[in-house]
């Protein structure tokens, strides 16, 4: 049911990302990064006032940082796991070129709960105050008095992004979306963000989604735009569809070691390559990375 929200990727970014917006990017580590939306944001030169990652950002954050579009970042990790540190995040942090709101996973999770539920702030479990994180980030963390016993407790500010870029494996045209693998914090991001721009591997009829209503991760009424982007997580993985492209990621990590290299990468793979062309040029690689699972697993 419902009106189709399927739009070309250029419209999704042009219409739902204001200049200087507070953007959250879904996915975690090398998986489910909404890379098609990230690349299109760079093509359109949209400035991001604040970027929020899941507990672990990777290419989704590092490429935007490398494009010079991000003013400040709220994160508890930007890296490429066993492949190494995030080159742009590292360089900008070391040169003082980015304002970092240093966080931990519990705060990002509970902060999104607070944003999703309209909680003015959220008290955090005792013990977290022993890390140095709250000492360097007074915008996200402060201390409050527990009204029930007078104890001093660490508290976090609510996280309410203006727009979330999320990847789901399948959705219907109106945006009822199913994450066929791990959810990471993507569902919470959808609940906490004012707008959701969704990229999906495949658009399916609502009748197919509604065979497992409890399996629907994001209901359509939270979704503003749906972009069909098969292979759209490349070079990261899309759970249940394809693995990450280690060779391409290594090429990126190698190039992004200096500013000239990252500009070369972005020029070649992003600015001079519309998303349709990127998809075409990578289709064979993505097919080769496909999980050899039964088709029933992908529904």
């Amino acid at each position: 049911m419902g009106t189709s929200k399927v739009v070309p990727i250029s419209d999704a970014i042009a219409n739902f990302v204001s200049d200087g917006a507070f953007v959250s990017v879904g996915g975690m580590n090398l998986h489910n990064n909404p890379m098609a939306l990230v690349r299109e944001t760079i093509r359109q030169g949209k400035r991001i006032g604040t970027l929020l990652t899941s507990p672990c950002g990777a290419m989704n954050a590092d490429l935007l940082l490398g494009a010079g579009l991000v003013e400040e970042i709220i994160t508890s990790y930007v890296g490429f796991e066993h492949l190494g540190l995030a080159p742009n995040f590292r360089r900008l942090a070391e040169q003082g070129g980015i304002r970092i709101f240093e966080c931990d996973e519990p705060y990002i999770t509970h902060g999104l709960y607070a944003g999703a539920g309209g909680l003015p702030f959220i008290p955090l479990p005792r013990g977290l105050e022993f890390s140095d994180i709250p000492k360097v980030n007074s915008r996200s963390y402060t201390f409050v008095e527990n009204p029930f016993n007078g104890e001093r407790v660490l508290a976090g500010a609510p996280l309410m992004p203006e727009v979330a870029f999320l990847h789901a494996q399948i959705s219907d045209a109106s945006g009822n979306a199913v994450l066929l693998g791990a959810q990471f914090l993507d569902r919470l991001m959808a609940l906490a963000s004012k707008h959701v721009v969704l990229q999906v591997e495949r658009i399916v009829p609502t009748s197919e989604i509604s065979t497992h209503p409890m399996g629907t991760t994001i209901p359509a009424f939270l979704v503003d735009a749906v972009v069909e982007a098969p292979g759209g997580c490349h070079p990261t993985s899309s759970h249940a569809f394809y693995s990450y492209d280690e060779e391409h990621l290594r090429e990126y990590l190698d190039k992004a070691r200096d500013e000239r290299g990252v500009e070369e990468y972005i020029s070649q793979y992003v600015r001079q390559t519309p998303e349709d062309l990127y998809k075409q040029s990578m289709a064979e690689r993505v097919a080769a990375l496909s999980f050899q699972e039964s088709s029933s697993e992908k529904r």
Binding site: M28, N29, L30, H31, P55, C56, T75, S76, Y77, V78, G79, E81, H82, L85, A86, F89, R90, A93, E94, G96, E102, C103, D104, E105, P106, T109, H110, Y113, L124, P125, R126, G127, L128, F130, S131, D132, I133, V136, G181, A182, Q183, F184, L185, R187, L188, S237, H239, A240, S243, Y244, F291
Partner: protein, 260 residues
């Protein structure tokens, strides 16, 4: 379990897997973070040998008791969902906060200090780091877990420092006084495993202490590779090497040789 391998027939990472497995017991539940192939192999090995009722949750995918068919390098991999079951990440964060669900947290860092504090953020000052690390993720929750098992492939003076430049995950803080005062829910760090040795923490000083030396490793070599004075009680015993049965199990789950 009777036949014992000889030195050189296994890698350092494989030895670390069997050592960590020996620390895991029936009925316990463990959690771990990014790039955690070593503890994941240890958990699966423990389940398949002495601890069938041990449980573990793999990284951000949050699969419960993944079968490790095969062992994968990324802790958020889809293939980890070949598992008994899975829970949402936000539920794992809730249970970490509850503090009495998880017995073991596998941790590491770009710096690890004499009291077992871990740093994943910055070497040097936070404002001007070099290098800047990836970030702390869930490490501050070390304060609320039964015990912490620290592992690293980097045993050198840059990693093992007297005091971390940035505290991501608390160990015994600044030592006995601060630890006592903090009254944390968790039990603190229990063991450190590296390619050279295993270390525990001295009962009184709460400082890192050499527990066993891996076969072929000398005590001076370990001290040279460590940026602070280690506690030592000589003679230091040799680490129990993997058995052939353990190696067979580990290699069967590791066809890509992540641990070789």
């Amino acid at each position: 379990m009777t036949s014992v391998s000889h030195i050189g027939e296994y890698s350092a990472a494989e030895l670390m897997v069997t050592v960590l497995a020996s620390q895991l017991h029936d009925g316990e539940v463990a959690i771990m973070g990014t790039a955690s192939a070593i503890p994941q192999a240890a958990c699966r090995l423990a389940q398949l040998t002495h601890a069938p009722d041990f449980s573990y949750i793999a990284g951000g995918t949050c699969s419960v008791n993944p079968y490790q068919q095969p062992l994968v390098p990324s802790a958020c991999d889809y293939r980890l969902l070949r598992a008994e079951t899975a829970v949402p990440l936000s539920d794992v964060v809730l249970m970490e906060g509850r503090g009495d669900v998880f017995d073991i947290f596998f941790a590491g860092g770009i710096q690890i200090d004499a009291y077992g504090n871990c740093n994943l953020v910055a070497v040097g000052s936070w404002e001007h780091p070099h290098p800047r690390g990836p970030g702390s993720v869930g490490l501050p929750f070390l304060s609320r877990v039964g015990r912490v098992l620290i592992y690293t492939m980097s045993h050198n003076p840059r990693t093992f420092v007297e005091k971390v430049d940035f505290l991501s995950g608390p160990g015994f803080l600044d030592g006995p006084d601060s630890w006592k005062q903090a009254k944390l829910m968790g039990g603190g760090p229990a063991m450190v495993v590296t390619p050279l040795c295993t270390m525990t923490f001295d009962h009184d000083t709460l400082r890192m202490k050499v527990a066993t030396l891996h076969p072929g490793v000398e005590l001076e070599q370990v001290q040279r590779a460590t940026g602070f004075q280690l506690e030592v009680e000589e003679p230091v015993p040799t680490t129990q090497p993997p058995t052939n049965q353990q190696l067979e199990i580990v290699r069967a789950m590791d066809p890509d040789g992540l641990l070789r």
